[in-house]
Structure formats: structure tokens, C-alpha cells
């Protein structure tokens, strides 16, 4: 990038007047926010929840545990193109591709094995972005625990079962697209 690039838009920080330079208005603003929350709690509007009795619902674009979507025939949607593995910045996806069974007329390739190391994953969502068939998606599952490292390496079966668990609450955002 050239420093004299005409596309660069230079922004200056706003000039503060004498009153603002005492920083009193900013402090008062902050105190007002705290005060609103105190009054809110007194009125019964709490901002914390009683987790785990009361489940937290993250926003729809939350990036939690992965799932492998199934198509309408219940087959794995993934075509083993390995673009997710290519996009993954931490190399936590390992796929072994194979020629699809003869009776899968609509595709040539499928994943024989699809493994995501959830411990290594940084939940950046690049795999979801890269997927040309919307087969891998991040769900809103966030309370992921395991008693061993092996348990946290999710294979194809486990990732497909995450889909079964979450398909009602979180339908695939892209619909059932199976061809390119």
C-alpha cells in the first residue's frame, strides 16, 4: 500500500473543547450507565442469568461447535473438496476423500473420514465461509466439555449427530443446496 494512495481516507480524532478536556462529562456518562443498571436491578431487570438452570441463548451468528449437515436423503452433504481444511488457519480439519458410492448419482466424491479437532479449533468460522455446499456449519453449542483429549476430536458420526441435535432449533441457513 502506498501512503499517497488517493483511496486512503484519513480521519482525525475530534477536537475536544475546554469542558470536555476536564473529562468530567465522560466520567458522568459512565456513572449514568452504572446508575441505570443499579436502578434496573432494583426494578427487577437483571442483566445476568442464572446459568446453568437458565440456558443462555447466544445470538444467531454465534460460532460454536461444528456440525456436518445432511441432505434430504440423510446422506452427508460434504463432497470432500477440502476447502475448509485449506481455509482453516489452525489446520484442525482432516478429511479423507473417496469416490462416492455408485448409487449416489449426483456426486462424485464424499468424505470417508471427516475429523475436526475441537481443541485446536479457534472457532473463526472460516470453514463455514469456504464450504461450497454449506455442509459444515457452526452451531450455537457453546458448553463443550470432555473428559479426555480424544473425546474432543470429533469424527464424522459425531459431527453428523450434532446436526441431528440442532437441526430443529437451527435450520441450515442456506437451505438444502446439494449441487454447485
Amino acid at each position: 500500500m502506498r501512503l499517497d494512495d488517493p483511496c486512503i481516507k484519513k480521519l482525525e480524532p475530534p477536537k475536544l473543547n475546554v469542558f470536555e478536556r476536564t473529562y468530567l462529562p465522560q466520567i458522568l456518562d459512565g456513572l449514568a450507565v452504572t446508575g441505570r443498571h443499579i436502578l434496573g436491578v432494583l426494578r427487577g431487570e437483571s442483566i445476568t442469568i442464572e446459568y446453568p438452570e437458565q440456558p443462555h441463548r447466544p445470538s444467531p451468528n454465534y460460532r460454536g461447535v461444528h456440525r456436518l449437515n445432511k441432505d434430504e436423503q440423510g446422506r452427508v452433504k460434504c463432497v470432500a473438496c477440502m476447502l475448509c481444511a485449506t481455509a482453516c488457519p489452525v489446520h484442525c480439519i482432516d478429511i479423507i476423500g473417496a469416490t462416492a458410492p455408485e448409487n449416489w448419482s449426483d456426486r462424485e466424491k464424499y468424505p470417508e473420514s471427516f475429523v475436526i479437532d475441537e481443541l485446536r479449533c479457534i472457532f473463526c468460522g472460516m470453514c463455514e465461509e469456504a464450504c461450497p455446499v454449506d455442509a459444515v456449519e457452526l452451531t450455537s453449542f457453546y458448553d463443550l466439555t470432555g473428559l479426555s483429549r480424544e473425546e474432543m476430536i470429533f469424527d464424522k458420526t459425531k459431527l453428523l449427530s450434532v446436526y441431528d441435535l440442532t437441526k430443529e432449533a437451527e435450520p441450515s441457513r442456506m437451505g438444502n443446496l446439494t449441487t454447485f
Binding site: V79, A80, C81, M82, T86, G97, A98, T99, K109, F180
Partner: protein, 581 residues
């Protein structure tokens, strides 16, 4: 001297060869995109991708007259006063049009296509195509079919460049493939019961610029951008074809040919193409073994080497004779260090060439300019391709090394007889052959003849079962070094894979036996040393070799070499096969 003008700049071609505009432009770093042209095949100019503006300049008046229409560069000779315009709006618009036309029926299945990443359509679509698809009709869909049990054809991806058809007609002259039907419905096919099964068939996969012809052996296994390429030499026969070994996750996945006009031109045989399996074999020796109380125990390498060194030195001190069998699968450097080691511990010891496997007869393909050709052949340089019956890479190199140390080369049959006759007290046998070189009876004979037997091999063989010490050697992919091919060409092969767990490459084993000092040894150091010591290898002075290798002393160049300074002396690679600029 030939003067040509490309995009307004003047260039001179020194030796006035007959080359086309693509080759001439490429020499000066100007790319003219193409699909159907290949330097070994006749020019048919059917993809129209390389069309440029062509004209000629009158040397007296300086007046330039351009042809009214665009002309395919592959068909245009780069003769004196030729004017080429490769980047005018007219040419760029033409390329956009051709790309759109080629992609009309092309499926958008790059994610599952094995060619993705080394695909001409992808690369040139990015460079010269347009982003949107205006075709609203349904695309032609041709189901995938097999043209042989090794090669699959996805004809919906085909762009009808006919490189594969011309290859089978002009190079192998077997003519299995042809274009069937016409126009929109044209597709590549084979006649029933005449599948594409000649020994060079796999090359059609390499020359296919798109993902239409695919190798079933590699199909759907890896994405090509994961593979690291290592320049190597095929060890399947004594031709010594230049290959790249492509590796990922500690395993070799395929061999691809690498251009060398002196050896293999643009091709490799199917046997060599499958040769990568040797490197991945789960049966390879996994450790070093020492015979203790009648049983082979896995032993750390240093202890096993100490045992070899101690016992051989003891036998030499007591006046015993040592026989060393130097395998033709060893590199020149390894053979040199082995011979040096054996002669150092006992000057009376005897060096012999290991068993040289042979199978069948030499098979040569000699394309010429008249037979099977369908288009303009004036730019084609015909070079032969031979599959040798001698199935080892370095017989000639090992012979030269042994001759240097001992003056004569003893063949395997006579040394085996002499060992069996009880002439020697110890034997050091190297092999590394992909097929076991010693059968049960030879193993028993050798074992009976000596009191101490060292075997260095990559797999468990009958002889290894009888040995006192079994040293595990490296496969061709695990070691770097030079081989001398049938024509006496010394060529360097890089190591493609790290050595297996618990195994050292042969060169390191010999270096430790010779007590050359700490640290890993480099093959180039040894090559420099032996080039200085042995006159025949003087071409490798300093441990460096030219890209295409060099002919060792006393060998005749094979006559198909390109002239000095010719375009054929530069590495040829299809533009989509290399890394993207």
C-alpha cells in the same frame, strides 16, 4: 540472427531455430496463453486461445504491415522481422470470448475436480476470462466413463484440445483415443474393447489441461495444493526419467514427469508413475536388527553400527577377507562411501556389483515427423523414449565407482560363487531393491560361506533373515543423491520424504561407519569429494550439477540432446502446472 518485435519491444533470437511465437515470447518472459499446443505434438490450433496480432516489418523502410485477423501464435513461426502484439484490446477481448466459449458447457465442479489447483481453465479464466456466465441454456452433461482401468474420462470437463488424441497417435502410435461425433456433441472416446492400455498411457492425464482425464490411482485422494513437489529421478529402470515426487503428510502420493530433453523428454511410463508405492509400503524395514542368541532383536542404530564396525575390524585384523556387494540401487555417493569404508578397513577386501534385475526387453518409442501426425509438424522436435529392461537406476555409476577402487568390476554371480566357496570371512551386502534380490538358496549359500554377514536393505528378505546385523536403508524417496543412467548421464535426485522412524538414510550409515565426524552428511559434499578423486565424475566438480544432469566421462551423449542455447534447453512446463505467479 532473428529479430522479432513483441508488444513494441525488439528481441533477438541468437541461433535462428525454427520455433513458434509462443516459444519465442516465452523466452523473453511474455506469456501467450494456450491449451492445445504442446511442444512434442503437431500443431492443430484448435483451442484458439493463443491468437495474437501478427504482422511483419519491412527492414528497409521500417513499415509494419499487420494481418487483418488474429492468428494463432502456436502456428506462427518466429521468423525474422515478425511483429507480435499480445496485449492489445483486440487480443484481450478475443481471449475473454474464447474463455467464455470454452466454459459454456464446463461444469462448475472445481471443488470436487482433481485438476483444481493445476488447471488451465482455472488459471486462464482468472487471468483472461470474465466473472459472469451469460449462457442461460442447460449445459451439456456427459456422464463420466472409463477409457481404461487406470484412467477416467469426465467428458463434460473436456475442452476438445485433442492433446490426448494426438499423444496416442503421434507419440505411442497406438491411436486408442479419438474424437467422436461433431460440433457441440464432440467427445473423446475409445472403441469398444480397445481401451487405452499402452505403457505410456498415463501421460494423457499429465497433458490434459483440464480435469477431463484423471488418474484413478490418485483420484479423490489429495488436493494438489497440499502436495509438496520434490525433483527426483525414477529408480524403476536405467533410463532414469526425471520426475517430481509429490508428498503430503509423510507419504508420497504420485509421480509426475519432469522435462529433460536428454533423457525422457516430457514423458514417464506407467510403471514409473506407480513407483511411488515403494516409498509408502507398510512392509518396509522399521528398525535395525542384530542377531543375539539366534534371534533378531531391534537394536538402536548406533549399537548396531558399532557391532558392524567392531566385527569387521576384528576380522580384518585377523587377516580375514571381506566381500562387499554394492547394490545398483545405491546412489553414486553411497557407493563411493561404502567402497571407501570397505577398502579402508581391509585393502584386500573385494568389491562386487550387486544383482542387476532385468525383465523383458528394452521398449523404445520413436516418434517421427510423418507417422500419425495430423497437423503442422515443423516446430516438433522428435526424441525417443525408452523403457529399459534393466530395472535398476545406477548400474553404471556403481560400476565406475567399483572400477576406481579396484580396477575391475566383479559381477554378482561370480562373487556369490566365491562367497559360497568359503573365500571370505565376512560379507557386507547392500540391496534396497523394491523386489527381493536374493532368494532362499542364494541366501543360504552366502550365509554358509561367511562367519559375519551384514545386510543393508529396505525390506525383509530371505538374506536379511540370515544376517548377523540387518541395517535398514532408505527408499529412493528418503535419500538424496545422484544416479548414472543407461546413457551415462549423472542426475541428482532430491529426498522427498524424511527417513522412516528409527531408520537412517544409507549415506548417513556409511558416514558413521567411516567416522566422518558429527552432524548429518550432505550428498553434495560427498559428490564434490568423489568428483575431485575420480576423473570419470569430473563433471560434478564442486558437488553441483546442471538442471538436466551431465554426461560422465567416457559416455557418449545419446544424440537427441538439444543444441546449446536452444529453447529446448530450458525447462518446459505447462503454464498451469507450476505455481501461480
Amino acid at each position: 540472427m532473428t529479430t522479432i518485435y513483441i508488444d513494441g519491444d525488439e528481441f533477438t533470437l541468437e541461433n535462428g531455430e525454427h520455433i513458434n511465437a509462443i516459444q519465442a515470447a516465452a523466452r523473453f518472459g511474455i506469456e501467450i496463453p494456450y491449451y492445445c499446443w504442446h511442444p512434442a505434438l503437431s500443431v492443430v490450433a484448435n483451442c484458439r486461445m493463443c491468437e495474437v496480432e501478427v504482422g511483419s516489418r519491412d527492414p528497409k523502410t521500417g513499415e509494419i504491415r499487420m494481418l487483418p485477423k488474429l492468428v494463432p501464435a502456436c502456428q506462427t513461426p518466429a521468423k525474422d522481422q515478425t511483429v507480435l502484439v499480445t496485449k492489445s484490446p483486440k487480443v484481450l477481448e478475443h481471449r475473454r470470448m474464447i474463455m467464455e466459449l470454452l466454459l459454456l458447457n464446463h461444469p462448475l465442479d472445481c471443488p470436487v475436480c482433481d485438476q483444481a489447483g493445476e488447471c488451465g481453465l482455472q488459471d486462464f479464466s482468472y487471468d483472461h476470462g470474465r466473472a459472469e456466465h451469460r449462457f442461460v441454456e442447460t449445459r451439456n452433461v456427459n456422464p463420466r466413463k472409463d477409457v481404461s482401468d487406470q484412467i477416467q474420462l469426465n467428458s463434460d470437463r473436456c475442452i476438445m484440445c485433442t492433446r490426448c488424441v494426438r499423444f496416442t497417435r503421434e507419440i505411442t502410435r497406438t491411436g486408442e483415443l479419438q474424437v467422436m461425433r461433431r460440433g457441440e456433441h464432440a467427445e473423446i472416446g475409445v472403441f469398444p474393447d480397445h481401451e487405452l492400455d499402452n505403457p505410456l498411457a498415463g501421460n494423457v492425464v499429465d497433458i490434459c489441461p483440464v480435469g477431463a482425464l484423471l488418474d484413478k490411482d490418485f483420484l479423490h485422494k489429495q488436493r494438489v495444493w497440499f502436495l509438496s513437489k520434490h525433483n527426483s529421478i525414477c529408480t524403476g529402470c536405467s533410463t532414469g526419467c526425471n520426475i517430481t515426487v509429490e508428498e503430503n503428510k509423510g507419504a508420497a502420493w504420485r509421480h509426475k514427469p519432469r522435462y529433460n530433453p536428454h533423457v525422457n523428454d516430457y514423458w514417464i511410463c506407467d510403471e514409473g508413475r506407480r513407483g511411488y508405492k515403494v516409498a509408502n509400503d507398510p512392509e518396509l524395514l522399521d528398525a535395525t536388527y542384530v542377531l543375539e542368541d539366534g534371534d533378531h532383536r531391534a537394536t538402536p542404530i548406533d549399537q548396531a553400527i558399532a557391532a558392524v564396525s567392531r566385527n569387521l575390524a576384528l576380522i580384518a585384523r585377523e587377516g580375514g577377507k571381506i566381500a562387499a556387494i554394492v547394490s545398483p540401487f545405491l546412489t553414486v555417493e553411497e557407493a563411493y562411501l561404502l567402497c571407501k569404508y570397505i577398502k579402508t578397513i581391509s585393502p584386500s577386501s573385494v568389491l562386487a556389483l550387486g544383482p542387476v534385475p532385468r525383465s523383458g526387453e528394452d521398449a523404445t518409442w520413436l516418434p517421427d515427423k510423418s507417422q500419425g501426425r495430423t497437423g503442422d509438424v515443423s516446430f516438433v522436435v522428435c526424441r525417443p523414449f525408452t523403457i529399459r529392461a534393466e530395472k535398476c537406476p545406477n548400474r553404471r555409476g556403481v560400476e565406475e565407482i567399483v572400477r576406481h577402487f579396484q580396477g575391475e568390476v566383479i559381477d554378482y554371480a561370480s562373487i556369490a560363487a566365491r562367497i559360497g566357496g568359503g573365500e571370505f570371512q565376512a560379507a557386507y551386502v547392500t540391496s534396497n531393491a523394491p523386489e527381493p534380490a536374493f532368494d532362499e538358496s542364494t541366501a543360504a549359500t552366502i550365509r554358509r560361506g561367511v562367519s559375519f554377514l551384514v545386510v543393508q536393505d529396505t525390506r525383509v528378505t530371505p538374506l536379511a533373515n540370515q544376517a548377523d546385523v540387518v541395517l535398514a536403508g532408505g527408499t529412493y524417496a528418503e535419500k538424496a543423491g545422484c544416479y548414472v543412467n543407461h546413457d551415462g548421464r549423472l542426475q541428482f535426485a532430491e529426498a522427498a520424504l524424511p527417513p522412516r522412524e528409527g531408520v537412517l538414510p544409507d549415506l548417513d550409515l556409511f558416514a558413521i561407519l567411516l567416522e566422518r565426524g558429527a552432524g548429518p552428511i550432505r550428498s553434495s559434499e560427498v559428490l564434490a569429494e568423489l568428483a575431485a578423486e575420480i576423473d570419470v565424475f569430473a563433471v560434478a566438480a564442486g558437488g553441483r550439477l546442471p538442471e538436466f544432469g551431465a554426461t560422465i566421462g567416457g559416455a557418449e551423449p545419446n544424440g537427441t540432446a538439444p543444441k546449446n542455447g536452444s529453447v529446448y534447453e530450458q525447462l518446459y512446463q505447462d503454464p498451469w502446472a507450476g505455481a501461480r505467479r
